[in-house]
Amino acid sequence: METDTATIRVARYRPEKSEKPYFQEYKVPYRKDTVVLDALNQVKAEQDGTLAYRWSCRMGVCGSCGANVNGVPKLTCATFLHEFKGKSLTIEPLANFPVIKDLVVNIDDFMEKLLKVKPWIIRDKQSPPEEGEYKQSGKELDRYAQFSSCINCLLCYAACPIYGLNEDFLGPAATALAYRYIADSRDQGKKARFPIVHDLEGVWECTLIGECSVVCPKGVDPMLAIQKTKILGAMEAPKTMLSPETLKAILPRGGE
């Protein structure tokens, strides 16, 4: 395998050195199997230890190493340099997040949203483990399995213009995880999660741009989860509207 040299343009932001972000170019050797993360690691190890970015598993499952590569959110560990042969290659922090330093973004907002959707099994009654597992058929598993594959890499948030325009939008990954639990046959927390996903900043903000699903490296298809949540909500609406609680609230009270 032959070795080539590429020039990568990396967005830098070093708050202790300058208030303004800037770009820095590095020359890196690469082969057919070199990924963008390898290039960053080469820079860090051999050229410039000040470059800051996150990474760990380098096999596309820990979700740390997302960055905007030529404007498109990517896992740097799964993006090959040779795909950019003859083109310029610019690496920037994930869009739509505040930047702490260089390629490191602040993901507090997502962590709060994740907590908000109650991403755990909610049941009226927990049976003790001694009674054995909750049975689940292949079909029941299929209903949510794909949405449980979210690695929280947040490429979808970087790709979502709705989130870009409105920070309060619950967003793709958090909704996918909410739906993952709603659709799980073991869960009974639909009621608890509905007010959150159907909030003003919830699923109805989504206008089906679909870029979240295009950039998702794990085939989660958050857009699908959002639409499925919309459908569930719409089906539930007549029930909610005609529920005794709603009727009591809107009908004139007799005799009181």
Binding site: N96, I100, G210
Partner: protein
């Protein structure tokens, strides 16, 4: 003391500007899809108006037809047709994504839904066309 508490600012989140939809081909296609709604609505309104004219006063209907035959209206119709077809095709595709056709436990590509829906569109269009021709 070597640890001083200094807080260095983060680069705040940039909210997207009005031209965000030009940043990426997918965004642009999305915007065009949104734009098609205008043409679909306009064409539908014109069509409803046409039916209304035909029903209310058949005498002035030919007058109306002359307006429709004007080059401006013909070009509008062609543009509207283009956008309507684009609208149909993109939504057929999205239907395939949102409610994928399943064969056994396997999901099919949204292209299948697109294909099936397009075939139906063509069949229905021909049927309607046939109706008009036969009606004449």
């Amino acid at each position: 003391m070597s640890t001083k508490k200094t807080h260095y600012p983060e680069i705040p989140r940039k909210n997207l500007g009005p031209g965000w939809w030009l940043a990426n081909r997918h965004y642009t296609v999305y915007m065009i899809r949104e734009l098609t709604s205008f043409f679909v609505t306009a064409f539908s309104l014109i069509y409803i108006y046409q039916v209304y004219r035909l029903a209310s006063n058949p005498g002035t209907y030919s007058q109306y037809l002359d307006t429709v035959r004007s080059p401006a209206m013909i070009s509008f119709s062609i543009v509207a047709l283009g956008f309507t077809l684009f609208h149909s095709v993109t939504w057929f595709y999205l239907i395939g994504k949102i409610q994928p056709i399943k064969i056994g436990r396997k999901k099919t590509s949204p292209l299948l839904a697109l294909g099936i829906n397009t075939v139906f569109l063509v069949i229905i269009s021909f049927a309607v066309l046939q109706l008009f021709i036969v009606g004449k």
